[in-house]
Symmetry: C2
Subunit: 574 residues, 2 copies
């Protein structure tokens, strides 16, 4: 006798039956009062009068399918995968599509292998995207480059399920053989995109690659155009870059668009997770905004499942994985919480052991590189005979920056100086993977820095050291502290280290519980606020100032970059 | 220089540009006034101001994506694949998902190979489903059985793209190892279903197999349930069994359902194609019924493309195949016609050579079997001491039959006789693949036969000879004529052949143009009408009386079958 079929037919008791739940049926878009019968890791039946060895009484609460995050960089939570999984599993997440390109930039193949290994046997399924752009562009310097053979290797070994965001859109558009080689090596898997502000004929060229999604739509028209060209739209609701409010009208215009849209995190922190939530939070935001809860649910369950070709999940239905979560409420509303979670038919319970086990070994390469070639205060001073400089313009809430051309402020010695009254700080990037000593200097407006400096080894995507500060001494102190720590986040003032936050694994992650990470981060962010930085998630904002593949002006160890203006830009301007 | 990308970017003239078209954008659900630039077989760009080596002026007419039929048995058009392709390509069809289980039943592997070969290099793409149920059930006798190794072989050789309709639903539900072996052999491809009246716990069990679609919903509630259990609904609009009117409310209820529904043909004839059309006809029917034309369009383009994982088509968008059709109208309305068609960027023109070329060779096995063991009139006479018999009840417009229990009518010699006043004819099925002489006798109500007989070698799915008639002589004449012809359709009266329609290839298809097939069929159907059969598509209705996997009563060479009652049924009843 096939027990699965016998369970489905109701001839033997199911191993587990959830009774008295209001099933949120993402297919029929209505609540359904029925039993859910489970055999091993799968749903055997949905219907009336299933008997079970174990019965769970849902007492009229809503049961939703396990939620799926279609795009996230786990590293950016500062948590290792087991800690991340333990955290989001409690929030009803059952799967994430993770692009490990942060660790790839910082630790190369060894870092990737660490992620793949530590991502196994967790209370969520982590599906990895092969990092397609390491480095993100020719204007960044990573630990090592991932070439097309590395990509092919990952797929040959079944380590990856999709191609990670293809960020180097100019290379795609212009037919660069390296990037096209990686796309080709990925073969017939979902090819995920990253194409901020790419529209018109450039978008056509980008899409000729077969890339089929994007999470970088900055306004409604951009999203409309991309949708109309056949792309799936990932609406990013990240910690620093929340796009739901901007892009939800796409769904209000026509709910059928929900069949080609999903909501993703991209970049969130441990603090954000604990305070706001994961996919459950995105649900609440959408419902609060007035979206039909079933439409909202589709965009965090069925739609990502379909885009990523995960036909075994996405809804509570027979034959699919027994991944579901029970709310504390009898409806999906703007304030529901996740009360109970099942993954593969097993109840999910908090398990801190997950991140204190053997997998917590630091990858071999992590401690090999000691950064000793650090510039002096003198070396980061710059003179110019002109009147203007280019400045990175930061606007809270968007990942886009501006390239501002502003009048030079000079110190008493004639050097170009921060202009704190006008919120212009100095920013320095130092290469940290090969100890080359390469560094670059620029200026940034909009962080709010009034004194001291903030520094980070999380600096997308190459993750060199980035420091922004009010004076050269604070900046150099920050660089030295980052080098001493082997990576992390710091706040400095003059010669003093005000606060630090070590990130032992590649300068990106640490071995700690989300609570510890979050509380330490709050302390650190308070120190950042003390020196004037009032924007939310200041270190995340800082880290993105180096990402060369998002317009407009960025800074890497190679200097100023504006991808929309073709690459390298001068510090001085006319 | 990559010419495709340069075309997309608008830097070199496209090979072909369609100008002044109103593009029916299935993603944005609106008409878009833009150029479509083509490079080789693909769309390089959609947008303004594309220059082209060749310019086609659409003069304001609507351009729609190539349409996709998600489920059809080409054999049932009586046309060989090249003739079928030539016909439907003119109607804007660019791809069909074909289940060649008819030829598999009639000619086995050799027949399949003929289909695969003759399906190449045509103006449409034919994606084959591996026939999962040959025979359809244990109650039918085909030429040869296709076992799980045959299925595995077809996928190993990349001959098939999906698993053909899994009709033997009792075997799936009950865990039959043969059927489950075939499902397993198919692996990670779309597994298409056939589950008429399967609901509740049986449906749960059926779905545990991973089968994900169904085209046999007979009413709205059945469709709603299947949709809610995660299935894709194929709304069948066949020649004899048109379901659109019954099932369209599913889409009216919520247009989001169109993202998991498509419209398919299943069984249509050459005559139907010429008189009514193919997917274009389904579009007209849906629009006439009041559906938003873009929703209708989705269900014959994007939705089937997504279900069948054909990510290179389904809409007019960059990077997708240059498959599109120009209407004679500036809107998609209930009377549009297809005026021009492009497939892979080339203009499709009628090409009768397609079906007079080398591929028209009859498969080797076709003429090997001579049917000599044909029953006599005496042998098909039946006596019974009871008062009642079971009778197949036919209702026009539905593929379902009834199992009727009716009072016996006896002739002067005491044999059970047709009751023409009450529209009850005799029906005989004779095994024709192995010349075993096996036959069975039953009765059918609802065909309208007043005299003579109709016979067919198209008799789903085993395609034995089936004859229904008013008297034994006409029936035996029909069987003899079918045997002489080596397959086809006949109308007889007494000893006389009134009309015949040869089907040289496996008794299923013939080498002829659709016009010839259609006009000959009209002649034949007129003769059938002369003996009383007024229902539409009488030979298609007759052919389905043998299909053991659709409830209720059917007849095969093994006798009466009712799958919903577990199989074999008696002729006589209480």
């Amino acid at each position: 006798m096939n027990k699965f079929l016998a369970t489905a037919r109701g001839e033997i008791p199911a191993e587990l039956v959830i009774k008295n739940a209001r099933i949120a049926n993402v297919f029929s878009r209505e609540y359904e009062l029925a039993d859910v019968a489970v055999y091993q890791n799968k749903i055997a039946g949905v219907g009336q009068n299933y008997d079970g060895v174990e019965i769970f009484d849902a007492q009229g609460a809503v049961l939703i399918p396990g939620m799926i995050d279609g795009h996230i960089h786990i590293e950016d939570t500062f948590m290792i995968p087991p800690a991340f999984a333990d955290t989001v599993a409690q929030m009803g997440t059952s799967a994430v599509m993770a692009d490990p390109h942060e660790i790839s930039n910082a630790l190369g193949i060894a870092g990737l292998e660490y992620m793949f290994k530590s991502g196994l046997n967790l209370p969520i399924d982590i599906f990895w995207g092969a990092p397609s752009c390491v480095p993100a562009s020719e204007f960044e310097t990573p630990f090592e480059e991932l070439d097309m053979l590395s990509i092919k290797n990952m797929f040959d070994k079944n380590l990856c399920q999709h191609l990670g965001e293809v960020m180097n859109f100019p290379a795609v558009i212009n037919g660069d053989p390296d990037v096209w080689g990686k796309i080709t090596a990925a073969g017939n898997v979902p090819l995920t995109g990253h194409a901020p502000n790419v529209t018109g004929k450039n978008l056509n060229a980008y899409l000729s690659s077969g890339i089929s999604s994007d999470h970088e739509c900055n306004d409604l028209n951009e999203a409309r155009e991309k949708l109309s060209r056949g792309m799936w739209i990932m609406i990013r609701e990240g910690a620093s870059f929340p796009n739901l409010k901007i892009l939800l009208p796409l769904i209000f215009e026509n709910e059928l668009n929900a069949a080609r849209c999903m909501v993703v995190s991209d970049d969130i922190t441990a603090r954000y997770l604990l305070e706001t939530g994961h996919m459950d939070a995105k649900m609440r935001i959408m419902i609060e905004a007035g979206l039909n809860p079933f439409t909202a649910l589709r965009m965090v369950t069925l739609s990502p499942a379909e885009y990523f070709r995960l036909y075994d999940r996405g809804g509570i239905a027979p034959g699919r994985l027994a991944d579901f979560a029970l709310l504390d409420s009898d409806e999906m509303n703007a304030s529901f919480k996740i009360k109970h979670v099942w993954k593969n038919g097993r109840k999910v319970i908090k398990n801190s052991n997950l991140f204190t086990n053997v997998l917590n070994e630091i990858p071999d390469l992590a401690s090999d590189i000691k950064i000793t070639r650090i510039p002096t205060e003198e070396q980061i001073k710059i003179k110019s005979s002109g009147d203007f400089i280019n400045v990175i313009g930061v606007t809270e809430g968007t990942v886009l920056t501006k390239m501002l051309t502003l009048k030079i402020n000079r110190d008493k010695n004639g050097y170009i100086a921060p202009d704190l009254e006008n919120d212009i700080a100095k920013i320095v990037v130092l290469e940290r993977h090969r100890n080359t000593g390469n560094f670059s200097v620029g200026f940034v407006k909009g962080l709010g820095i009034k004194k001291g400096a903030v520094g980070s080894s999380v600096a997308h995507d190459a993750h060199n050291f980035v420091v922004a500060g009010a004076d050269d001494k604070s900046i150099i102190t920050a660089l030295n502290k980052l080098a001493e720590m082997g990576g992390g986040l710091v706040v400095t003032e003059g010669e003093n280290l005000i606060s630090s936050f070590p990130l032992q694994i590649g300068g990106l992650m640490r071995f700690a519980s989300p609570e510890k990470i979050s509380s330490d981060l709050i302390l650190l962010e308070n120190c950042a606020a003390d020196i004037g930085i009032k924007i939310k998630h200041p270190f995340m904002v800082l880290s993105f100032l180096c990402l060369s593949v998002i317009p407009e002006l960025r800074i890497t160890d190679k200097g100023y970059i504006d991808i929309s203006r073709g690459g390298l830009q001068n510090l001085t301007a006319r």
